[in-house]
C-alpha cells in the first residue's frame, strides 16, 4: 500500500526518471555503473513504477538469463503460495473465533456441554408434556424448571470440569462479579428455552420463573459457605426428594409449584439475593468455588 502511494508520488509531473542507458546497464547486472549510480537507481526504482516497468521491458528483451531465473523461482514458489493461501482462515471464521473468545468472558468452554444437556433435558420434558405420556396433569417443564439453571451454575464452577480452574481462582476477577457473570450466562440460555416451553405448555411465566430464579439465588447464597458446586448438588437433591418424587408418585402438582406458592418463592429469591450481597467478599476464596 505504501509502495503504491510512493509510486503515485513518483508519477508527479516534472519528476525525473532514470535514463535508458542506466536502466539498460542495471539490467545487465550493473557492473558498468559506478557504485553511487547503482545505489541511486535502486532507490529510484523502489519508488517509481514507470522505471520498474521500463526495467522489466529491458530485461525481457535483452537479458534472457534473468527472465529464466525469475521464471524458475516463480514456478517453484507458486504452488507453495497457493497452499498458504488456502490454509489461512477465512474472515468469517476469524470473526467467529474472536466472538468465541469474547464469549469466554461469560462462560467457560467447560460449561457448553452442560448447558447443551440442560437444554436437551428441557426439550425432552417439553416433548413428554406435549405428547402427554408424562405425569398427566403435572407439567414436567414446570417440575424441572427450578433445577435446570442450578446444574448449569454448578458446572460453571466445578473444579473437575474447568481445566483453567486454578488459574481462574488466582485471578483478580475471580469473585462475586465473575460468579454473577457465569450465572447470568446460564440463565441467558436456560430462561429463553423455558420461556418457549412454558408458552407451548401454557404454564404461567411467574410459575416457573420465580422458582427458577429463587433456586439460583439460593445456590449462590449457600455456595458462599460450602462451595457453589456442592450447594447446587444439595439443592438439586433436596428438590428431587421433597418435590419431584412426591409429585411423580401422586401425579398431583406439589403445593410449592401452585400459584399459592409464589410468595414463598419470591421470599426465597429476596433472601438468597440478600445473603449473596451481604457475603460478596467470600466468593474470591477457593473454598467457595468447589
Amino acid at each position: 500500500m505504501s509502495g503504491e502511494h510512493a509510486s503515485e508520488r513518483a508519477h508527479a509531473p516534472g519528476r525525473e526518471h532514470a535514463s535508458g542507458r542506466i536502466i539498460e546497464r542495471y539490467a545487465h547486472g550493473g557492473r558498468d555503473l559506478a557504485a553511487d549510480e547503482v545505489w541511486a537507481v535502486e532507490a529510484h526504482l523502489e519508488a517509481c513504477r514507470v522505471c520498474r516497468d521500463r526495467l522489466s521491458a529491458v530485461v525481457a528483451v535483452q537479458v534472457p538469463a534473468v527472465t529464466s531465473l525469475v521464471g524458475a523461482v516463480w514456478s517453484g514458489l507458486e504452488p507453495r503460495l497457493a497452499v498458504t493461501a488456502t490454509m489461512r482462515r477465512g474472515r468469517l471464521q476469524q470473526a467467529w473465533l474472536s466472538r468465541l473468545s469474547r464469549l469466554s468472558r461469560w462462560m467457560t468452554p467447560a460449561m457448553v456441554p452442560w448447558l447443551a444437556m440442560v437444554v436437551a433435558v428441557t426439550l425432552l420434558a417439553l416433548l413428554l408434556d406435549l405428547v402427554g405420556v408424562g405425569t398427566g396433569e403435572v407439567s414436567l417443564v414446570l417440575l424441572f424448571a427450578p433445577v435446570l439453571p442450578v446444574l448449569g451454575v454448578a458446572a460453571s464452577w466445578a473444579r473437575g470440569l474447568d481445566p483453567a480452574y486454578e488459574l481462574t481462582a488466582s485471578a483478580p476477577r475471580a469473585g462475586l462479579q465473575l460468579v454473577l457473570r457465569r450465572t447470568a450466562s446460564v440463565l441467558g440460555v436456560v430462561v429463553p428455552v423455558l420461556l418457549v416451553c412454558g408458552w407451548l405448555t401454557g404454564v404461567m411465566v411467574a410459575q416457573w420463573l420465580l422458582p427458577c430464579l429463587a433456586f439460583t439465588a439460593a445456590t449462590l447464597a449457600l455456595g458462599g459457605a460450602v462451595g457453589v458446586t456442592r450447594a447446587a448438588v444439595v439443592l438439586a437433591a433436596g428438590w428431587a426428594v421433597l418435590i419431584l418424587a412426591p409429585t411423580l408418585a401422586t401425579s398431583r402438582t406439589a403445593l410449592a409449584l401452585r400459584t399459592d406458592g409464589l410468595p414463598a418463592w419470591a421470599l426465597l429469591l429476596v433472601l438468597g439475593t440478600g445473603v449473596v450481597i451481604a457475603r460478596r467478599g467470600a466468593y474470591s476464596v477457593l473454598r467457595t468455588h468447589r
Binding site: 500500500m1 505504501s2 502511494h5 482462515r89 473465533l97 468465541l100 473468545s101 469466554s104 468472558r105 467457560t108 468452554p109 467447560a110 474447568d162 481445566p163 483453567a164 480452574y165 486454578e166 488459574l167 481462574t168 481462582a169 488466582s170 485471578a171 483478580p172 476477577r173 475471580a174 469473585g175 465473575l178 467478599g281 467470600a282 474470591s284 476464596v285 477457593l286
Partner: protein, 277 residues
C-alpha cells in the same frame, strides 16, 4: 501504512510506577502455616523474606512447595501466621483484587482450553487479570514474543507440544507484568535449548521482579537463580546464594555437582536415614 488514525500519545511512566515502594520485601511470611486436607500442615511455621530477584525453591517431593506457591498466589488461605505481600496482608477475608493484579502464577498442573488459540487464551487470562482493555493486545503480543511463540500465536492449544504449552503457561503468567511471579515447576517438559532460553528470560525478569521458581532441577538454580530457598517438610532449611549452598556440601555427600552435594548435605543434616528416594 497510512491508516488515517493517529496514535495516542501515552506517557511511558505512570504515577503508580513513580510511587515509592512502601514495603521492604515483596514477600514476607512470619510463622506461616497452611493446612492441607484435615490434618496435614503442608507449610509448617515458615519464616521467609523475599525481595527482587530470582529465588529458586528447592526441596524433595512432598516438601510443601506447591502448597507454599498456591498460598502465595492467594489461592489457599494461611491457617496461621502472617503473610504480607507487596505491603498488603494476604490471607484475611476480602478479595485481594489489587494484590492479585500484580501477581503472575503458573500452576504445577497448567490447565487450559484446548480449542483456544495461544493468543485467545493469553488474552482471556489478561482479561481475568484485569489488564486495561486497551493494553491487552499489546501485552499479549509482548508476552507471547517473550516466550518465543510469536509464530504459533494463532495455533490452537491442542496442536501444541508439551513444551509449548508450558511456554504458554509462562506467557499467561507474565502478561500482566507482575511484581511477584510464582512459577511452579516451569521447566517440566522443556527441552534443553528451551530451558536455556527460559533461564535467560528468568534472569531478565529477575532484574525488577520477585520471581519464585519451584524446581526439582538443581542445575536450573545454579544457572538462573540469585537466591536459593531450600524447603523440607513444610519448613525452611536454608536460604542463601547458590554459592553458599554449594559450600555446605563436602565430598562425602551424595551428588554430581557441588550444588547437589550441598543440597543433600543440608537435607540430611539431622542424620536420620530417609528412604532411598
Amino acid at each position: 501504512m497510512i491508516t488515517g488514525k493517529e496514535h495516542h500519545m501515552t506517557s511511558a511512566v505512570n504515577a503508580a510506577d513513580l510511587a515509592p515502594t512502601p514495603y521492604a520485601w515483596e514477600i514476607q511470611a512470619t510463622g506461616l502455616k497452611v493446612r492441607v486436607g484435615r490434618k496435614r500442615m503442608a507449610v509448617d511455621g515458615l519464616d521467609l523474606r523475599l525481595g527482587t530477584g530470582v529465588h529458586g525453591l528447592l526441596g524433595p517431593n512432598g516438601a510443601g512447595k506447591t502448597t507454599l506457591i498456591r498460598t502465595l498466589a492467594t489461592v489457599l488461605r494461611p491457617t496461621e501466621g502472617t503473610l504480607v505481600m507487596l505491603g498488603e496482608t494476604a490471607g484475611g477475608l476480602g478479595e485481594h483484587r489489587a494484590l492479585r493484579r500484580r501477581i503472575g502464577y503458573l500452576p504445577q498442573e497448567f490447565g487450559y482450553y484446548r480449542r483456544f488459540t495461544v493468543r485467545e487464551f493469553v488474552e482471556y487470562m489478561a482479561w481475568l487479570k484485569e489488564v486495561p482493555k486497551a493494553d491487552i493486545p499489546g501485552a499479549v503480543q509482548r508476552a507471547v514474543e517473550r516466550v518465543g511463540l510469536a509464530d504459533r500465536a494463532d495455533d490452537r492449544m491442542k496442536a501444541l507440544s508439551g513444551g509449548m504449552v508450558r511456554r504458554v503457561g509462562i506467557a499467561q503468567a507474565i502478561v500482566n507484568d507482575p511484581t511477584v511471579l510464582l512459577l511452579d515447576e516451569p521447566t517440566v517438559g522443556l527441552d534443553p535449548a528451551q530451558r536455556l532460553r527460559f533461564r535467560e528470560l528468568l534472569q531478565e525478569l529477575g532484574t525488577d521482579t520477585c520471581v519464585l521458581v519451584s524446581t526439582h532441577l538443581v542445575e536450573d538454580v545454579a544457572a538462573a537463580c540469585t537466591d536459593v530457598v531450600l524447603f523440607a517438610e513444610g519448613r525452611l532449611v536454608f536460604q542463601g546464594t547458590p554459592d553458599e549452598l554449594a559450600a555446605a556440601g563436602g565430598p562425602e555427600h551424595v551428588g554430581d555437582s557441588p550444588l547437589e552435594r550441598g543440597y543433600s548435605a543440608l537435607l540430611q543434616k539431622p542424620g536420620q536415614e530417609r528412604g532411598s528416594w
